[in-house]
Symmetry: C2
Subunit: 226 residues, 2 copies
C-alpha cells in the first residue's frame, strides 16, 4: 500500500529537506506552497525548483493574504531585523500570527483531497524556541484536529504530523539534505533577498543558514550579499 504524504514546501532549506526526507522515506508526496503575502516571493520560485528537483508531480500553490492581520515584519511594512540576536530569546518580530496553524490547515485540505494522512512540516528546534507554533505539543494537537475535522478521519484514518527536522540543529539539517541528495543551491532562506536567489546574509534566516553550513562542514552554494 502506497503511503501518501502532504508536505509544506516553502522553498527554504528546512522545508526542502523535509520534502527530500518524505521522498526518501517512500511516501507518495504531494506538496503545497502557500503564498501568504510574504515579502520574499522569490521563495515560491525556489519551491517550484525544489519540487521539480525532487520529482514531486503534484505541487499546488495556494494564495492567502495574511496582510489583513498585520503584526509581522514578514507580511507588514515593518523592517526585517538585521544583525540582531533574537534567536532563542523571545517571540521574534518575524512571527506571523498563527502561521503554522494556517499552513497546516491548508495542508490538511490537500491531504484530504489526495488521500494523505501524514502531514510533513520542516519545523525544527532552532525555530520553536521563538515560534510557539513549532512546538511538539502544538504539532500533536494539530494531528488531532486533522483527524477530527476530515472525512477520512471520520472513517477511521489517523493523521500524523511528521516533523523530521524537529530535533536537528541547522547543521544537522544541512547534513541530512546532503545525505539525501538535495541540491541546496535550489533553496532560498532569506527573509529579504536583495536580488533573485541572492541571500542578504544579515537577516536571522541567513545567519542561521550560513552558520549551519559552516558548522556542518558542507560547502555552502549560496550567494550572500553581505
Amino acid at each position: 500500500m502506497i503511503r501518501r504524504a502532504a508536505v509544506l514546501l516553502s522553498g527554504g532549506l528546512d522545508s526542502a529537506t523535509a520534502a527530500a526526507w518524505a521522498r526518501a522515506a517512500g511516501y507518495s508526496v504531494g506538496a503545497l506552497s502557500v503564498d501568504y503575502g510574504q515579502r520574499q516571493r522569490h521563495e515560491l520560485e525556489a519551491a517550484s525548483r525544489v519540487a521539480e528537483h525532487l520529482e514531486i508531480a503534484d505541487h499546488r500553490m495556494v494564495a492567502v493574504d495574511l496582510r489583513a492581520f498585520g503584526g509581522s515584519a514578514l507580511t507588514a511594512d515593518l523592517a526585517v531585523p538585521k544583525d540582531r540576536a533574537w534567536i532563542g530569546s523571545d517571540v521574534p518580530i518575524t512571527y506571523v500570527p498563527a502561521r503554522n496553524t494556517i499552513l497546516l490547515a491548508l495542508l490538511t485540505s490537500l491531504a484530504e483531497v489526495t488521500g494523505a494522512t501524514d502531514l510533513v512540516i520542516g519545523a525544527n528546534v532552532q525555530d520553536y524556541s521563538g515560534y510557539p507554533d513549532c512546538r511538539p505539543e502544538f504539532l500533536r494537537a494539530f494531528a488531532d484536529v486533522a483527524r477530527l475535522g476530515t472525512r477520512a478521519g471520520t472513517e477511521g484514518a489517523v493523521f500524523t504530523v511528521r516533523a523530521p527536522l524537529l530535533h536537528l540543529s541547522k547543521a544537522g539539517i544541512v547534513r541530512l539534505g546532503r545525505d539525501l541528495g538535495l541540491d541546496h543551491a535550489l533553496t532560498l532562506s532569506c527573509y529579504d533577498p536583495p536580488a533573485p536567489f541572492v541571500h542578504c546574509g544579515r537577516c536571522d534566516a541567513c545567519r542561521l543558514r550560513r552558520a549551519g553550513f559552516q558548522e556542518a562542514g558542507v560547502p555552502d552554494p549560496s550567494t550572500y550579499a553581505g
Copy 2:
C-alpha cells in the same frame, strides 16, 4: 476587563446569529469574513451588511483560494445538488475539504492580533451530522491548537471555541436571532443565488432556512426564486 471575541461572519443566517450572540454576551467583537473562492460571492456583501447592522467596527476580509484543492461543489465546477435529501446522511458534496479547520486557523490569527481568546463560530447540529469539522470534539481540539500555537497561549491565555448554536435546530437559530434583534433580511444562506440577495429556494441551505422560519413561526423576510 473587556472580553474580546473573534467571530467568523459569512453573512449566512448562522454566523450572523452567532455574531449577534457575541455582541449580546458583552464581547468586544472583531469579525472575519473569508472569501475562499465560493460561488456565492454575494454572501460576502451580506457579511458587510450584517457587520454594520451589529456595529462591529473591526471587520476584516481575507481571501484564500481553495479551488486548488477541488473536491467540493461550493468551490469547484460541480453542480450544487438541488431537491436532494443528503441532510443527515453522508458527508455532503458541498463539503469543502478541511474548511472549518482553515477558517478557524485564520480566525486564530485575527484573535492573536486583536487580543481575543474566544473564537466564535456558527456551527450547529444540523451541519455536524454531515460535516465532520462541525463536531464538538473537533471544536475542543481546535481550542488546544489555538492555545498551543499562539504567542498569547504561551503567555498563559486559554482559548475557547464558542459555538453558541451548536445544539440548536434551525428553528431555534431563527428564534434566537429574532430575540437578539437580528435583522434576518440582511442574511443570505443560498449556495447558488440566482440574483443578488435572492435565494434559489431549492439547495440544501435554502431548504433548511425556509423550514427553519416556518417551524419557528417567525416571518421569513427572504425572497425565494423557487
